[in-house]
């Protein structure tokens, strides 16, 4: 559910904004070219995914970023990190070969 919440660019922009500190719903909505209601719905998606939480302060609901699900994504990526490091190693080995003139460079 986390990943599908993260799939929308508006929601990612909201998270980026929240990484700089708490903000109310209308503050979060301000930069977007869509209704407040639409942003409110995006916030609910983020909330259900645990990516943000909302407080209550008078008529405002200050939202703040919750790190847990992002950390889980990071953990999930861990399994692949080794994989792409391997690939990187291969690329680096290849680049080293090129340096020595050992292979044709396909980019030339």
């Amino acid at each position: 559910m986390t990943l599908s919440a993260l799939a929308d660019p508006t929601r990612r922009a909201i998270l980026a904004r929240l990484a700089t500190g708490e903000a109310s719903v209308s503050e979060l909505a301000e930069p977007f070219d869509m209704s407040l209601v639409a942003v409110s719905k995006h916030l609910k998606v983020l909330e259900r995914a645990g990516l943000i939480s909302k407080g209550r302060e008078a008529q405002w609901r200050p939202c703040r970023l919750e790190p847990k699900p992002l950390r889980q994504v990071d953990d999930w990526l861990e399994s692949y990190r080794q994989f792409w490091n391997d690939n990187l190693d291969r690329l680096e080995a290849y680049a080293a070969l090129l340096q020595k003139g050992g292979v044709d460079d396909p980019s030339n």
Copy 2:
């Protein structure tokens, strides 16, 4: 686009399988309780997102994992990593306080 490709559990399972090595479309489809056509579509989504590539070997299309988009997700997470480390620090500080008997433990 990467994130929405990653949002589907079937597709993530396919990636996990591919992290162990190349596989043909029908090999990839085998563990799933859905038609081959459905899996083929998932593969196309992954391919358009650059998460996999397909070769051709006779009538098979061996698929393999492409690391670049995953690495981009990792880079994207980077901005938040500091944020959740901060939070973790706060938690650790709190835990240390608890150890010293400085605060009530809300879990008791």
